[in-house]
């Protein structure tokens, strides 16, 4: 008797939420078909994948690729570089759009504000090939930056051939390219904060900093927390395209990251299995990081992804 009524309850639940399930269905279907079905193919990380014989026809090699990765000469270095670049990027690049959004928020003239916004978004649209070309040009000894240094009495350095500069250049250019674009989302969040709170605060005599601390930041907290959690989950990811365009043998020691390392392997012998194996390792670590970050976020800010 009991489980019959329970199942009837479930059916009633389903019926009541019918439209919601209907809304969710296509989304879940998308993830199932276009994300989970291909995910099965990640099994090539444990096989010696040969394009002509296909996934089924390729032989198993177990953990060989993982072993090869961890045995390689440079594994420690590429992992360290990946993490270091990411840490710099999070420490400097994560707050930057927030700060920009806050500064923009303080502007009173809408014209100037819109002008600044439009201009700061520009770099986001320029392709990485062009940005790299510009960096190499500007940072050359006889480039723009070099000329400025020379005119100030210094000697221009070949910055792009110096491994000690690489992270700075990379993270700096990342910030340059994304600070404006990244601020959009914070601006949208700021637009959603109730202005009557600000009015009330002003009437109470709160100054700019107090308004920031007690109204603005708490208002932004959920979105900041969400984005931070997502960002931390990507601590092991550094896009390879830009680094490939910027590095050279003189800067390998700080520039070579996991993705470039694997990319070269892929080019050398079309080794999709190897790329898949390292990718799997990367993803596993990222997932762990995300779960941890999510837990911490839930405890400290009340916002979490699940």
């Amino acid at each position: 008797m009991d489980h019959v009524s329970r199942s009837r309850r479930v059916v009633r639940e389903l019926a009541r939420n019918r439209s919601v399930y209907l809304m969710l269905a296509p989304v879940l279907a998308y993830f199932l078909v276009f994300q989970y079905v291909p995910m099965v193919g990640a099994v090539i990380a444990f096989k010696d994948f040969n394009p002509a014989t296909g996934i089924q026809g390729s032989p198993w090699v177990g953990l060989d690729w993982f072993r090869q990765f961890f045995d390689s000469l440079f594994v420690g270095r590429v992992i360290a570089n990946t993490i270091l670049i990411n840490v710099y990027d999070v420490l400097l690049g994560f707050p930057a759009p927030i700060v920009l959004a806050l500064l923009l928020n303080e502007l009173t003239g809408t014209r100037f504000r819109q002008f600044v916004q439009t201009v700061t978004y520009l770099p986001h649209f320029i392709s990485v090939v062009v940005v790299s070309g510009m960096l190499l040009d500007f940072l050359a000894r006889d480039g723009v930056v070099g000329q400025i240094v020379a005119s100030l009495g210094g000697t221009p350095q070949a910055v792009m051939s110096d491994p000690d500069w690489f992270r700075t250049v990379y993270v700096g250019s990342e910030i340059w390219q994304s600070v404006g674009w990244g601020s959009i989302i914070y601006l949208a969040a700021l637009a959603g904060i109730n202005p009557t709170l600000y009015e009330a605060a002003r009437i109470d005599g709160a100054n700019r900093w107090q308004r920031l601390r007690h109204i603005t930041l708490p208002g932004l907290l959920p979105i900041i927390a969400t984005l931070l959690v997502l960002r931390l989950g990507q601590l092991m990811t550094v896009g390879f395209e830009k680094i490939i365009l910027l590095y050279n043998p003189a800067t390998y020691e700080t520039a070579d990251v996991i993705s470039t390392y694997v990319y070269r392997h892929g080019i050398l012998d079309a080794n999709y299995s190897y790329a898949a194996a390292v990718g799997l390792f990367n993803s596993a670590v990222a997932m762990v990081l995300l779960v941890v970050a999510n837990k911490l976020s839930r405890r400290w800010s009340g916002t979490s992804i699940w």
Binding site: P51, S161, P249, H265, I267
Partner: protein, 538 residues
């Protein structure tokens, strides 16, 4: 009677067995029009005016003559590697795949084993008289284009005439040499003296010591040697070395591991320290390099005959009258020989060829079509296009028309590609197309100068055995990074040369002996390959 019969039969047999002159293929090849699907990489120059090679005059001419039209399937530029691999994954093969078979995962023999391409020996023997005759004339070519067991898998793109292979080499500012009263550098020591003079004696006459005696850059997409941009390869020859794996007698050696490499590094290090090598050589872009070349700053470098010598001369003539860039011979090595160190110069075949897939239902017609490219008429069409439109015969030799050489809207290369594919295949590169670009006497001199060196250090195109391939690639992948880094550090002075032995030991640790052994096996197999396809009578 019996004797007469015997004699007649012998005569007939002998006549038949003696390599006959290539019989012309009966044209048209098919009575009903035939379409072949064909995968090939496209080319940026062609993309300016065409959507596919099928639109070229050359292929129109071929279609008219043979009745076979080609439907090209081109991957987008920049995605060639991925699309080739995905093509294999999809299993949906076109009739013909034109690709670099050395780059097939596991090597060309694996491509045969995997059933991606079909063996061609028999078909060539029966239906491809032009190619067969060519192979008979050039046993070296047969060795290069076949797998270890002698199977031919593709119709190759060949560069047989040594002149089409002498397109790259060291170049120096002749006017600066003259101004300073110097001779062309011939040995490494000569180079040192000349470069130092460039640096210290202000040949560009502007009162500033801003000359860059020797400059270099790495062009993305070109063959790379770890740690050394192509222009520095010329100096390897001066130490009896060639880039990466090279031939030392019957053996294979790896130059970054040789003792002579240490001497090479020491010299380069000295030059770098004294400002004789461009300090930007590692990271500069083409634009920067071009800017230096067109501002009268660079004394010497190494590059192509066309895009280097001719282009820079043209660009500088206006602003710097008297600008004279000439080709210099490769430096003299130990033993008094000059060595060519441009790896392509030693290879008639580089792995690129058109192969037939099992999906092709007209292999015989396809073979005939491909063979036509090796005939006189076919080769002319593929290299020059349509007579009267893109070329005319002048004194029996083909010359591109003004529509190609002086097209107002297109560069020369783009105009050529609108009509023909002289650099690709499958065909034998016709030296006459290249000579048309050599409008300056310096260029013809260059060809002569650069050909006057030995290619004995260069290896023929070799493929490591399929079984060794994975490990070989894994070892080389890491080793290249290490070599590149250490070479750079030694040259720029970040690492003291005393550490060379430690570096050498690390190479062994990284698996160098295995790599060298694998290449050695490949060379041995190559050398012991029969000169003729199995089953042929000489």
């Amino acid at each position: 009677m019996k004797r007469v019969l015997f004699l007649t039969l012998s005569l007939v047999t002998l006549t038949a067995a003696a390599a006959p002159a290539p019989e012309p293929i009966a044209l048209p090849i098919v009575r009903q029009p035939l379409h072949l699907t064909w995968f090939a990489n496209f080319n940026g120059k062609a993309a300016v005016s065409l959507k596919s090679y099928g639109e070229q005059s050359a292929y129109h001419v071929l279609a008219e003559r043979t009745g076979i039209t080609v439907d090209f399937r081109h991957p987008p530029l920049g995605a060639e590697r991925e699309r080739f691999n995905l093509l294999l994954v999809s299993g949906n093969y076109p009739d013909v795949i034109e690709a670099d078979w050395f780059g097939y995962p596991g090597g060309s023999s694996k491509a045969l084993k995997d059933g991606v391409v079909i063996p061609l020996n028999d078909l060539i023997r029966r239906y491809a008289p032009n190619l067969q005759a060519l192979l008979d004339r050039h046993p070296e070519v047969y060795r290069q284009i076949s797998t270890d067991d002698g199977t031919i898998y593709a119709f190759p793109m060949l560069r047989i005439d040594p002149q089409v292979r002498s397109v790259w080499g060291p170049q120096v500012r002749r006017d600066w040499l003259d101004k300073l009263g110097l001779r062309q550098p011939s040995t490494i020591d000569d180079w040192y003296r000349v470069l130092t003079a460039f640096r210290t004696r202000d040949p560009n006459g502007n009162g500033r010591a801003d000359e860059i005696p020797f400059s270099a850059l790495t062009i993305p997409g070109e063959k790379t040697v770890p740690g050394l941009p192509p222009p520095l390869w010329v100096f390897l020859g001066g130490f009896g070395l060639a880039p990466e794996f090279y031939r030392c007698g019957t053996r294979v050696c790896y130059s970054p591991a040789q003792p002579a490499y240490r001497d090479f590094l020491a010299t380069m290090r000295k030059w770098y320290r004294e400002g004789l090598l461009d300090p930007d050589y590692l990271a500069q872009t083409e634009r920067q390099f071009d800017a230096k070349m067109t501002n009268g700053l660079v004394g010497a470098y190494a590059g192509y005959n066309g895009s280097g010598l001719a282009r820079f001369t043209a660009m500088n003539r206006a602003r710097f009258p008297g600008f004279k860039l000439v080709a210099t011979p490769y430096p003299l090595g130990p033993g008094g020989k000059r060595y060519v160190t441009w790896p392509e110069a030693g290879q008639e075949y580089m792995g690129v060829g058109a192969a037939i897939t099992p999906a092709n239902r007209h292999p015989v017609e396809t073979v005939k079509f491909l063979d036509y490219g090796y005939s006189e008429a076919g080769g002319l069409a593929l290299s020059f296009g349509r007579e009267g439109v893109s070329y005319t015969m002048v004194n029996g030799a083909p010359r591109y028309t003004d529509r190609v050489l002086k097209n107002p809207k297109l560069s020369v290369a783009e105009a050529i590609f609108a009509h023909a594919r002289p650099q690709q295949g499958p065909l034998v590169q016709d030296v006459r197309y290249l000579r048309q670009f050599y409008s300056m006497p310096e260029q013809l001199d260059a060809v002569r100068t650069w050909s006057d060196a030995s290619t004995e250090l260069l290896l023929p195109p070799l493929e490591v055995a399929s079984a060794d391939a994975r490990k070989f690639n894994a070892v080389m992948s890491d080793m290249k990074i290490y070599v590149a880094e250490m070479t750079t550090r030694f040259i720029t002075g970040r690492e003291p040369l005393e550490h060379f032995d430690a570096y050498r030991r690390k190479l062994d640790q990284a698996g160098l002996p295995f790599a060298v052994a694998a290449m050695q096996r490949a060379l041995d197999r190559y050398d012991s390959k029969p000169a003729r396809p199995a089953g042929e009578q000489p």
